[in-house]
């Protein structure tokens, strides 16, 4: 009991963002970190504070004086000790309910010697791996169904790349939501309720407390009768519609009474002619082949999408299940509660219909129709309008010339908004090639910055040429400007704390999105440009 109370206190703020169920998901997560440099330990610090189940640090290095300068977990006492061990001990101190362990071995050798090691984790966070290493761990993680986050801090450049074959998001928590009120096409119960309210006969107090939803349903109905079943379309018609509403207001000596519900009705009139639509993202999910072929293995998300599709085609008559909640509106308590009940009842009925479809679909696939809890169906229906799907390409697909999205890269390099960050993306990859060739990163020695810049640039151009991008297609100077090449060389490959802190925090945030299944994670490579203080996301 004491532990529970302490936990709910400790995690109070997080729970207010991702809910108790999000916290549960976090508390079940087993995370593996590759390399305990500042980027890695910053990321893990944030997740340990948030309350993951456990972590394992994989690092073969010893603590050196250079580590002390940029990694807050490593102190002088730990000099020459295993970096994995010291980092693990310090991380465990941050939150006693999180278990930590370490493997003193270089990630590279562990990947080669024991790829099965990674299968037990929920999430692998691989930091400071070169491109070749990133491709390897990506393959391993995909094979075992483990989520992966790839991170780099390179001078003043940061890189965050989730790699999940498919992230299915029910609670996408969009920045803005549109009320689903069905004002222009009420279902019979709602229509009957609106009709039961006698506008003309209502006494003044009641009249000023009729919820605006009812006023708009009535107005839409009358408008349609007078306009061949059409809703207001032009600007003039919309003004006329609002005038119709205003004409129903009570007057004293020709002066309209102040009736807040009417003010609200006018302000919300657009909900009549601009009801929420089915977004292109949702449309694509409904049409996805995963929903068309439900198998023994299909995740419940796809079973529900298939059921949702049937609902839209049948009972819904093109509409999604009703979400069921209504916004605040000026009304008497009784009327508001009644309206709320009507919307909720319809939402329950819609969810029940979706559930029936889902059970049929499960049965047809030879699965137990009772395996899907009603609560999950309801939850799904409530959020159906904002379902999202994120599929990250594999690192191999992204980096191999045959499969990389050269057109997207070319476009990003030539768009003013993204040119610099796309060039940094190319330069990061070019720097890895540089390293593979010369066994050091460009700019490692001050005396060689100029020469290295030229070499780095030719690596970058070679990379672009492989993808079929030449100087003609990119920005004026061959896709990557000399200035940026110079910056990347000058700042060298150092893992600056001020960059690592930001990368580690962005990464932890993305990790929490992946683990809780809430919010939409980035679907490609996020480039953080600390020089200009900008970010871009690329799905090449």
């Amino acid at each position: 009991m004491a532990v529970v109370a302490d936990k709910s206190k400790r995690y109070d703020r997080g729970i207010r963002v991702w809910g108790a169920h999000g916290q549960e998901a976090l508390e079940a997560a087993r995370v593996c970190l590759l390399n305990a440099g500042p980027t890695g330990t910053e990321t893990l610090k944030n997740l340990v504070l948030g309350g993951i189940h456990s972590f394992t640090v994989v690092d073969g290095a010893k603590v050196t004086p250079a580590d002390l300068g940029n990694n807050f977990l490593l102190t002088a006492d730990g000099l020459a000790a295993s970096r994995a061990q010291v980092a693990t001990e310090c991380l465990k101190e941050l939150n006693e309910s999180v278990a930590g362990s370490y493997v003193e071995e270089s990630p590279r050798s562990l990947m080669n010697s024991n790829p099965d090691f990674f299968r037990h984790f929920t999430l692998v966070i691989a930091t400071q791996l070169s491109e070749a290493g990133a491709v390897t761990i990506d393959k391993i993680c995909r094979q075992h169904g483990v989520r992966l986050l790839l991170l780099r801090s390179y001078g003043l450049l940061g890189y965050v790349r989730p790699s999940v074959p498919e992230q299915r998001i029910v609670e996408s928590k969009p920045d803005s939501k549109v009320d689903d009120l069905r004002l222009s096409n009420p279902w019979p119960e709602l229509e009957a309720y609106a009709a039961s309210i006698d506008l003309a006969g209502a006494e003044d107090v009641l009249h000023s407390h009729i919820p605006y939803a009812v006023l708009l349903i009535k107005a839409a109905q009358q408008w349609r009768q007078e306009h061949d079943g059409q809703l207001p379309g032009s600007c003039a018609e919309r003004t006329a519609f609002k005038d119709l509403l205003k004409s129903w207001q009570r007057h004293i000596d020709g002066i309209p009474l102040e009736e807040e519900n009417f003010t609200e009705a006018v302000a919300n009139a657009h909900k009549v002619w601009a009801p929420p639509t089915v977004s292109s993202e949702l449309r694509a999910i409904l049409e996805d082949s995963c929903a068309a072929h439900i198998t023994q293995q299909s995740p419940s998300f796809w079973v529900l999408v298939a059921a949702l599709k049937r609902f839209i085609e049948q009972e819904g008559q093109g509409q999604l299940p009703l979400e069921g909640s209504i916004p605040d509106m000026h009304a008497s308590t009784q009327q508001y509660l009644e309206l709320q009940r009507i919307y909720r009842a319809k939402a329950d009925a819609d969810a029940a219909a979706v559930e029936a479809h889902a059970r049929n679909i499960l049965e047809a696939a030879g699965r137990d129709p009772a395996s899907l809890p009603t609560s999950e169906v309801k939850h799904f229906c409530k959020h159906a309008r904002y379902l999202r799907l994120v599929r990250c390409r594999s690192l191999a697909e992204e980096t191999e010339p045959a499969s990389c999205r050269a057109d997207s890269l070319r476009a990003a390099l030539s768009s003013e908004e993204t040119a610099a960050n796309a060039a940094l993306y190319v330069l990061l990859r070019a720097a890895d090639r540089f390293h593979a060739t010369y066994q050091r990163y460009p700019g490692s020695f001050d005396s060689e910055v100029e020469e290295d810049a030229a070499l780095l640039k030719s690596q970058a151009n070679a990379l672009l040429a492989e993808c079929g991008i030449s100087g003609a297609g990119g920005s004026a100077a061959g896709g990557v400007s000399d200035d940026l090449v110079g910056e990347v060389c000058r700042c060298a490959a150092g893992e600056l704390h001020v960059v690592a802190a930001v990368v580690g925090a962005i990464a932890a945030q993305e990790a929490i999105k992946l683990l809780t299944g809430q919010f939409v994670p980035v679907g490609g490579a996020l480039v953080y440009n600390a020089m200009a203080c900008t970010t871009s996301v690329f799905a090449f």
Partner: protein
Amino acid sequence: MGGVEPLATAWPYGATSSELKKRVEEARVLAVGAGGIGCELLKTLALSGFKHIEVIDMDTIETSNLNRQFLFRKRHVGHSKALVAAEAVRAMRPGIEVKAYQGNVKERQYDVDFFRRFDCVLNGLDNLEARRHVNRLCLAAGVPLVESGTAGYLGQVSVHIKGRTECFECQPKPAPKTFPVCTLRNTPDKPIHCVVWAKEMLFPLLFGAPEASDLNDGAAAEKEGEDSSAAGTADDPSFYKRQDGESSRQYAERVFRQQYGAKIEELRGMEDLWRNRPAPQPLDLDSLLQQAQGQANGSSASGGSSTASGGSACKALGLADAHAVWTVPQNAALFLQAAQQFLDDRPDEIGAAQFDKDDTLAVEFVTAAANLRAACYGIPMQSLFDTKGMAGNIIHAIATTNAIVSGLIVLEALKLLAGAPEACQTSFLHQQVSGSKRLVSRMAAPEPSPACMVCGTASVQLALNTNTWTLQQLVDKVLKGRLALIAPSITCGNFTYEEGEGLEEDEVEFYRGLLSRPLSQLPGGGLAHGSMLEVGDQEQHFKAQLIISHREDWDEEQHPEGFELSGSLPAAQAAPPAAAAPAAEAVAAGEPAAGVRGGSSAAAAPAAPAGKVALQETDDGIVLLSSDEEGDATEAAVPAAAAGKGKRKAPEATEAEDGEAKKARVEAAADDVVDLLDDD
């Protein structure tokens, strides 16, 4: 500091140069706040090579800080944040100089000379008042300020350099949210009304200083000048004194019967109030207790003794799920249990207790008290978790956002030290990347606003009733409450008023004697319509001109405090009303009608579109988080506390805020311009 030489290798190329490294090592920086942002900031500063860091924070460490304030451990709970954080950073980097002050940055010792010693000041503060104070001192000392704030996944960093970029107060700040007293006392219609009533009125009446409660304040009703019926609902504080020989249980039951029985019956008698709304229903304690007994027997949970419960009444009653909405009988049992425990276990605090969101028992009591009131009025009841969020004005603070924001703060500090103020910018951290949105977006730091009364020279209109307002109210509500002055002075013709240190005793006495006088009766002919007041604060090096405008009719819904501040912008600066009408994407922290921002309040309010603005209350301000033409606010960014939970429309002044908010930063490229605070 404005005169920092650019680096030989200019920013950003010189970002890793030895020249900048040296400047960083020599720089002296002040971190204000050692909370969520502060911990991250101190760590990042230390690991970025800063060697002379000073940190100030008045708070002590709480358990709920531990999810993000990673310099603190469980064993530190109760200790000074500043001292523990400094110690942790010193351990991180031996040889670093970290000086810690456990104190309030508004204290007199942190004066202009104190600020002048720094190359830049970095804010990670949790309240608007302190941020305004630091802004003024930085302006006075000519030291650049990097400001920051976070809420959930949202964050913001801005740079304020005197004469070069806008100061923190150039953008108007939202006024604190208040509710009409008669709504709270007589006619609540939202959960928040019940929560505020329980926390601000009932709690102090029982456990705190009764004079802090508006419930007993007969004068409160009088000063509102509303229908006389309101006066009848005020409480006699003597009723709430424990009688000789009365047990804590008897006392709690007596209060219950009074508040949820007799008082509700009394209110029902005021028929005028219930013409437009359903009258509240009293609760019968005896039958509730019977039901509670039945429920307790039905479940395995049984009541426990208060001593075994470790300070939690819920624990004593077996109410384990903080996310559940408990039944009315359960709330009744909790009310009695919590009150009883408070009286029995914490006798020393009675008469002086203050509500604290980290005080388990206080939150439990307020939850039960608010829910019982909600039950009387047919308002939906809330879980303990949600009630705590509302009562504590809790900002959703999470580690990751704080860490990103701190990294951005240090980057701005590096630019300042690199002599590249032109590279400084305002950065916005978004919740998620969607559409063309970037996770971090930026905007060049705006120029100072000539209409700013803090860094500019604009004067401000103050409308109030000079016959009913006393000098005390002017000083407390406007000068201290709204303009964030600490030791205000006023001059108007022959009339002067001063506060603060350095006054003779007879002067203090004289000025105190003036406080109770109505403004129109002050010496020197009194203040009247058109009076020009010089107001100032010597400590803050703040001076401004207030022009009084006398107004007698006040709509309590719109201006519950009975005054309005508005600026007077030069005509050319005023935004044409048309600019406010289109659906602006940008949202900023907008001052409602009571804003100090110029002309805009008049220009924007009538033309404002009718979208909704989601409000988040903070310790002493509202934060606007998002606005959407179509209506609903973001689910994640907006706490249950402020948006969407209430049954009815958001409280007063939203429309006005809306217009102002939408207009204020139409020019900003960012999609969500937010004004955020750090959480504790």
